[in-house]
């Protein structure tokens, strides 16, 4: 499975606590994160490091986020998400009308913010955004970059094919794959020359590793007569 390029996120916020929180959250998701506490540092980072996306606060002492976005837009069409405690409709509409790509109100959900970054990058056609580096589903984490599966923080031993199979299913929650499709996508094979029971056996083995009750699986579900799907 291909390892994706890391997305570079620039956080612009005068509040050090928010910068730290965002840096921790986004680094944990596999992003490269740079933080700027003032407009000059932000413009310098944009000119020199060309981030993939900017998270921009609005209420800053030296220059408002609205004004800074106008300044940024003079030379760059980098995607910008306003991240602000200003939650009123007027502010949200103004931010979007001025050219922001999204507007997220503080306090925000970390999971939603990350999902919105990926949605934005996906629509901009950035291949790096096709799948997150780490897929998290409650106690289960599938780290696509490290090719590592962990359950409640403990790393699970998986074979290369078991990992590829789980990663494929987990990257498209609820999408049903037939055994033939899985043979094709994971093994590069076909039911003409490989028995689809190979898939069944790998699913069975994965269930014993990641499910608390393999006979009543939470994650790897059988869709009778069709195939399998991952329930996140």
């Amino acid at each position: 499975m291909r390892t994706r390029r890391q997305l570079h996120v620039l956080v612009v916020d005068d509040d050090a606590a928010i910068r730290d929180l965002l840096e921790a959250l986004l680094r944990d998701e596999g992003f490269v994160v740079e933080a700027a506490g003032d407009p000059r540092s932000a413009l310098d980072a944009i000119a020199n490091r060309k981030p993939d996306v900017i998270l921009l606060d609005i209420m800053m002492p030296e220059m408002s986020g609205f004004d800074l976005m106008t300044e940024i837009r003079r030379s760059s069409d980098v995607p910008i998400i306003f991240l602000s405690a200003r939650s009123g409709e007027t502010d949200r509409v103004l931010g979007l009308r001025m050219g922001a790509d999204d507007y997220v109100v503080k306090p925000f959900s970390g999971a939603e913010l990350v999902a919105r970054i990926y949605a934005l990058m996906r629509r901009r056609g950035d291949g790096a955004a096709t799948a997150p580096a780490r897929l998290r589903f409650g106690p289960l984490t599938v780290d696509l970059g490290a090719r590592e599966v962990s359950l409640n923080g403990a790393v699970i031993d998986t074979t290369a094919k078991e990992f590829d199979l789980l990663a494929l299913l987990a990257a498209s929650p609820r999408r049903v794959f037939s055994r033939e499709q899985l043979l094709d996508r994971v093994w590069g094979s076909s039911s003409k020359w490989q028995d689809p029971s190979t898939v069944t056996e790998h699913v069975r083995r994965l269930r014993t590793k990641i499910e608390s009750d393999p006979r009543n699986p939470r994650f790897l579900q059988t869709v009778r007569g069709v195939g399998y799907r991952f329930e996140g």
Binding site: D77, R92, V93, D101, E112, A115, R123, P173, R174
Partner: protein, 120 residues
């Protein structure tokens, strides 16, 4: 613009709202008609309800994504964090909770259109 929602007042409201803003708006009440409509005339943006009787918006989006790479905004009364994250992770471009601000919906549609232009 294609609006897929089983609720007639919502369809009428969005049709008027976006029509007044200069968008050409088609509305569909039944999910089963949506795929044919999209194939026949691919819209620039789809506004998609989630709680529909025949098929959920989540499942319909998966079907649409198999057919066309059209920007999709979920428009739903399901406002919980889990639903918003699920919708975005499944591939939606935006997620707007009902009841929504008319002006904000218009701006979000425009922002999405702008992303397409930049992409392409």
């Amino acid at each position: 613009m294609l609006v897929i929602d089983d609720d007639a007042p919502t369809r009428a409201l969005i049709e008027d709202l976006l029509g007044d803003e200069g968008f050409e708006v088609d509305c569909i009440a039944h999910a089963t008609e949506a795929l044919a409509a999209i194939e026949q005339r691919p819209p620039d943006v789809i506004l998609l309800d989630i709680m529909m009787p025949e098929i959920s918006g989540f499942d319909l989006m998966t079907e649409i994504r198999g057919q066309a790479d059209v920007p999709i905004i979920f428009l739903s009364a399901k406002g919980g964090e889990a639903d918003r994250v699920r919708g975005l992770r499944l591939g939606a471009d935006d997620y707007v909770v009902k009841p929504f601000s008319n002006d904000e919906l218009v701006q979000r549609v425009r922002a999405l259109g702008s992303r397409r232009v930049k992409r392409g």
